[in-house]
């Protein structure tokens, strides 16, 4: 089975030391778990003021890696040099974290970024969270508001959008069904019991993709929920990599 992790991270997580979280550790984990491809961004691309420099460093480091793809984290209003980097590294998408960067997706500067992404046919990946806000002590970051995500998926309907870090995908069921460009990852699904089996029945399965939020989270925690689920093998393949492949093509 082809496994694609759409929501991994690399670099130094600023709030705690995470064991076994180097680039080599990611490669080893991908080999162990037969993950063929991972989309990553450096944590530094969230937290550095010169966050595009952080992207550039990692993108250069991984330029010849055919399994790990680096996407920039874009901060609306701080996009000088972005287009040159997009031309140079040709990422398939960009990442937005409105909660860390203090804007709403309805803001005009966010619209500029979304328009840029659309003009370049880039996937826009929005993280509602990258870690559990209940233990986010040193910098209090609430999850992206549901209304903001509703706005995004109501207005930017022609834009390929991937929502990540959702504790529950159910509130987006209707939008996922309505919009062929809209996907959600499974990175924060931890329940209820047999959640994947229930989701396959209630959500459009072709719009769900595997993501891990590694290294903050354990990859197997999500992966094993899918591989242990009593669902059709073809559906497992869709969730693990098939749907992501369709999105990323």
């Amino acid at each position: 089975m082809s496994v694609i992790d759409v929501s991994a991270w690399i670099g130094a997580y600023p709030f705690r030391g995470i064991p076994n979280s180097s680039l080599d550790d990611l490669r080893a984990k991908m080999n162990e778990l037969q993950i063929e491809r991972a989309i990553v961004s450096p944590y530094e691309a969230i937290f550095w003021e010169n966050n595009l420099d952080a992207y550039e460093r990692f993108a250069m480091q991984l330029a010849d890696d055919d399994k790990i793809e680096v996407w920039p984290v874009v901060r609306p209003g701080a996009t000088a040099g972005l287009e040159k980097l997009l031309d140079r590294f040709r990422p398939r998408g960009i990442r937005l974290l409105p909660n860390y960067h203090g804007y709403q997706l309805s803001d005009s500067r966010a619209r500029d970024v979304l328009d840029l992404a659309k003009s370049r046919n880039l996937i826009v990946q929005v993280f509602q969270r990258i870690a559990d806000e209940r233990w986010h002590y040193l910098l209090k970051v609430p999850p992206v508001d549901q209304n903001d995500l509703d706005y995004l998926t109501s207005v930017h309907v022609d834009q390929p959008i991937l929502l990540s870090g959702l504790n529950s995908i159910a509130p987006f069921a209707s939008r996922l069904k309505q919009n062929k460009n809209f996907y959600a990852d499974l990175s924060r699904i931890r329940g209820p019991q047999f959640a994947i089996e229930a989701m396959v029945k209630s959500l459009p399965v072709e719009k769900l993709v595997f993501g891990s939020l590694w290294p903050v989270q354990i990859i197997e925690a999500t992966l094993w929920q899918i591989t242990s689920a009593k669902i059709d093998e073809s559906v497992k393949q869709q969730l693990l990599g098939g749907n992501a492949l369709a999105l990323l093509k």
């Binding site: 979280s21 931890r190 019991q193 197997e220 999500t222």
Partner: protein
């Protein structure tokens, strides 16, 4: 990539029997726990009734304990905790005295309450007499506490006041760095990693700070997924011996189950 269940005994010491919207009857999907135990070959499942939400009435508490008893009579793998709400006063003690006479009941669960309030003391003293553990919900959160919700420091104060009590602080208290610091010098406090997202390094840190023998395995099912929680143990960078102890041996020792 594929999930391969461990060929070791598993005791899931943290599952819930939730109520439906009435607060007086088990939720319709409660039997999912039986399917879970069957599918993953769980030897023993500790069942905690939680009826009536955050501030249950005495009727809801009684209905929950009754339903947990009925569940355990139906499937002997399930061992209930008697749940009480300490601010119910004498009623809470009556529930303990009534249900702990039944051999199926294995422990006390204290729902969201400050653990070091005087109304908790007679309940703990009774559990010491019975030589059974008490699980007290506690979390240390950056988003604020629930009304009356214990922080691990409340649990530590109780454990120091009653060093002979066997206390379980679930969820590694939320923030595992903070919690392990707070309870490191309380050898009568056990913990479980349920109720958290699967954070890398959590179990390793708990083993380092507390020792593996103070850690139990719980899933928090059916609200949480069993496999998701099992991954916390199976993927931890600790020895197989520690994993086996966490998955079952420690619980067997705590409860005296052979």
């Amino acid at each position: 990539m594929n999930f391969v269940p461990p060929d070791w005994p598993i005791i899931d010491m943290h599952t819930h029997l939730w109520s439906d919207a009435t607060g007086l009857r088990p939720a319709a999907n409660s039997d999912v726990l039986i399917e879970m135990a069957n599918r993953f070959n769980v030897e023993t499942v500790v069942l905690i009734p939680l009826f009536g939400g955050l501030c249950p009435t005495p009727d809801e508490i009684a209905a929950g304990n009754e339903a947990a008893h009925a569940f355990a009579e139906r499937d002997k793998r399930f061992k209930p905790m008697v749940t009480v709400y300490p601010r119910h006063g004498e009623f809470a003690l009556q529930q303990i005295n009534h249900w702990m006479q039944h051999e199926e009941f294995c422990a006390l669960k204290i729902w969201v309450s400050f653990a070091d309030e005087p109304c908790v003391f007679p309940l703990i003293e009774r559990m010491i007499e019975l030589d059974k553990p008490t699980l007290i919900h506690a979390m240390h959160k950056s988003v604020g506490q629930l009304p009356l919700e214990s922080d691990p420091t409340h649990i530590a104060r109780l454990a120091k006041k009653y060093p002979q009590a066997k206390i379980i602080l679930p969820h590694i208290g939320g923030n595992f760095y903070y919690t392990c610091d707070v309870i490191a010098d309380c050898p009568n406090i056990y913990t479980d990693p349920s109720g958290t997202y699967c954070e890398t390094g959590m179990l390793e840190h708990a083993v380092k700070m507390l020792g593996a023998e103070r850690i139990l395995f719980g899933s928090d099912a059916p609200g949480a997924d069993f496999v998701n929680n099992l991954a916390k143990v199976m993927c931890a960078d600790v020895s197989d011996k520690d994993k086996r102890n966490i998955l079952a041996t420690n619980a067997k020792k705590l409860w005296g189950w052979t």
